[in-house]
């Protein structure tokens, strides 16, 4: 089991290294550069000043040497300093992380708390009206872009109830009530696709398990449907659901960029948005590495959960 976990983590780190390298290269392909964006509006900027700033930011060096500095810093846990305000990237990210984590967790919570019962109900009453309605809604939930859903929610709540989400963000410590009200709509918009994917996946995997031989055995021994569905079939059908959930974390992280922007939430998503606008390379890189690390970590945990759920994976992992 430990070996299995170790191997998963090693793969994860390799993927993360690859992601960091790719992003490092790709952001330098975006047209426009940080110095010109910073100085463009200032009157009377001379070429010398531009060159000086470029040298300060280390952007005059060859790309390989820049990459060297980046990797060197990364090895020491240093993500560099922001081009914008010269503060350490790590500090900037850690300031913004809580809001994003909260939003992401709320979205997942929304998706799981509604997706699981919907999926179960759909499977137990398959081909019923309830099932058909849910399958239809699930397709919509998966196809609708989260930002569009967010805009619809804002618009219609305002039109029908005259209600709008708060404009000023409050951290949970300052005002938990206002904070949760603020997070409600973006969490729903973000979690809708997760809910739909979980419901669909759980429906099909539960249906398959409910038709399996061992479920028939358990029924033949007089077990209640509650034991059959929740304990036995439920556990067996969890693996594909966890897979979906792990992948959905990626969608949710990506979704925070635009949704935090729409709802004025000062999280990592808006940080990335601002950083891209200013070509603030260290901040972009730092955020992407952070997002990548969260996504990879979640999926390593999902891999480990497979082994917790299924002894066959557990023992295969131990013997390999």
């Amino acid at each position: 089991m430990l070996l299995y976990a170790g191997r998963r983590l090693t793969y994860g780190l390799l993927v993360l290294a690859l992601v960091a390298t790719l992003v490092f290269l790709i952001i330098r392909l975006i047209p426009g550069d940080a110095v010109r964006l910073q100085m463009a509006d200032a009157p009377g900027v001379t070429q010398a000043q531009i060159d000086q700033r470029t040298a300060e930011l280390g952007l005059d060096e060859p790309i390989l040497s820049q990459f060297g500095h980046f990797v060197g810093g990364l090895a020491q846990g240093d993500l560099g300093t922001s081009f914008d305000d010269e503060r350490p990237v790590t500090t900037k990210i850690l300031e913004r992380l809580p809001a994003t984590l909260e939003l992401g967790l709320l979205a997942i919570l929304f998706g799981v708390l509604l997706g699981v019962p919907f999926g179960m109900l759909s499977a137990i009453r398959h081909h019923s009206v309830v099932d058909n309605v849910m399958r239809f809604l699930a397709v919509i939930g998966m196809s609708v872009p989260n930002f569009w859903l967010a805009l619809l929610l804002i618009t219609f709540l305002a039109l029908w109830f005259g209600w709008s989400p708060p404009l000023v963000y409050a951290s949970p410590a300052e005002n938990l009530g206002q904070n949760l009200v603020h997070m409600l709509l973006p969490a729903i918009a973000l979690g809708a696709a997760t809910m739909a994917s979980i419901a669909r996946m759980l429906r099909s995997s539960l249906l398959e398990v409910l038709g399996s031989n061992f479920v028939r055995t358990i029924r033949s021994r007089g077990a209640s449907e509650r034991v059959v569905v929740l304990k036995h079939a439920g556990r067996s059908s969890m693996i594909p659901v966890f897979t979906v959930l792990g992948l959905q974390v990626g969608h949710i992280l990506g979704g925070t960029v635009i949704l935090e922007r729409i709802f004025a939430i000062p999280g990592m998503g808006s940080l990335i948005f601002e950083a891209v606008g200013q070509r603030d390379y260290p901040v972009i890189l730092g955020c992407v590495i952070f997002y990548g690390a969260i996504f990879i970590l979640v999926n390593v945990v999902v891999d480990l959960l497979y082994a917790v759920i299924d002894p066959r994976i557990r023992y295969k992992g131990a013997s390999a």
Binding site: T217, I218, A223, V227, H232, S236, I309, Y315
Partner: protein, 340 residues
Amino acid sequence: MRAPARSADEPLLRVEDLHVEFRTGGGTVEALNAVDLWIDAGETVAVVGESGSGKSVTALAVLGLLGNGRVSGGRITWDGKDITGASNRDMRTVRGNDISVIFQDPMTSLDPLFTIGHQLVEAYRIHHDVSKREARERAVELLDLVGIPEPAAKFKAYPHQLSGGQRQRVMIAGALACDPRLLIADEPTTALDVTVEAQVLALIRDLQERTGVGLMLITHDMGVVAEMADRVVVFYAGQVVETGTADEILDRPQHPYTRALLEAIPRRDTPRDQEMPAIPGAVPALDEMPTGCRFVTRCTEAAPECESAQTLRDVAGRQVRCWRPDEDHGVLAPMAEVAG
């Protein structure tokens, strides 16, 4: 072991004129058409017939586990009580407690995610309000009973750590956990090696002698029938075509289908260059069943009389669904002895 609390003419299980239909994409199909059978306490009844003849459906109907099928007619009586169409809640007190099943495929019939001990404890506690520790003792006792070596250690094993034969032993242990009065064994050895098959059959017979449990043995292996059965019920295409004692059926089969089944058993003295005897054709699909005798499409003795529907008739002390044999000229050509 329980004392048989019943009158002599009231069997443990009686199935009368049972009809079962399944919903499919293109409407309903009838899987059972007027099935009659009974099982007395402690007796072994072999239910034989080709795949798809309705043997397993009968077992599932008795347990109320038909899934998307339903009993559309007839009656199932358990220990004098009518349990036809009983609610799931009522049937749950019967399943595992009064009537237990061993299914065909031990590789997939245990939950792979729980230890076998957990599954046995669960089986026992469904019908017994006892502590986990007591149930645990019972589970270890059951593992010992079915001949699992080191039962206390194997208690913690997962199904995938056991061989097919051992898994089927665990299935038997689970089926016997609550001392049922009837055990339905649905082709319990089909998925096993021949050597393991003999061991599992010996185990079932041994346990039956020790506990006095009635046995409904579903099989298509006539060798198994000869070895285990007191009585035989022959199924064809959702109907019972012949029923009688094992000796009568094996020695003097009356229905052409039963005879064809017995002739299809390869024997040691069959010359090697001779082709294996087989019944030509296949069981007609459920939606294109002949209106008369259902075996008419494959019967070597088909005659105009076969066009009319056949009923189970008493012939020479047993029941046969064929117009041909009658008591006057007794039995048809006797069969040679069947190799056990």
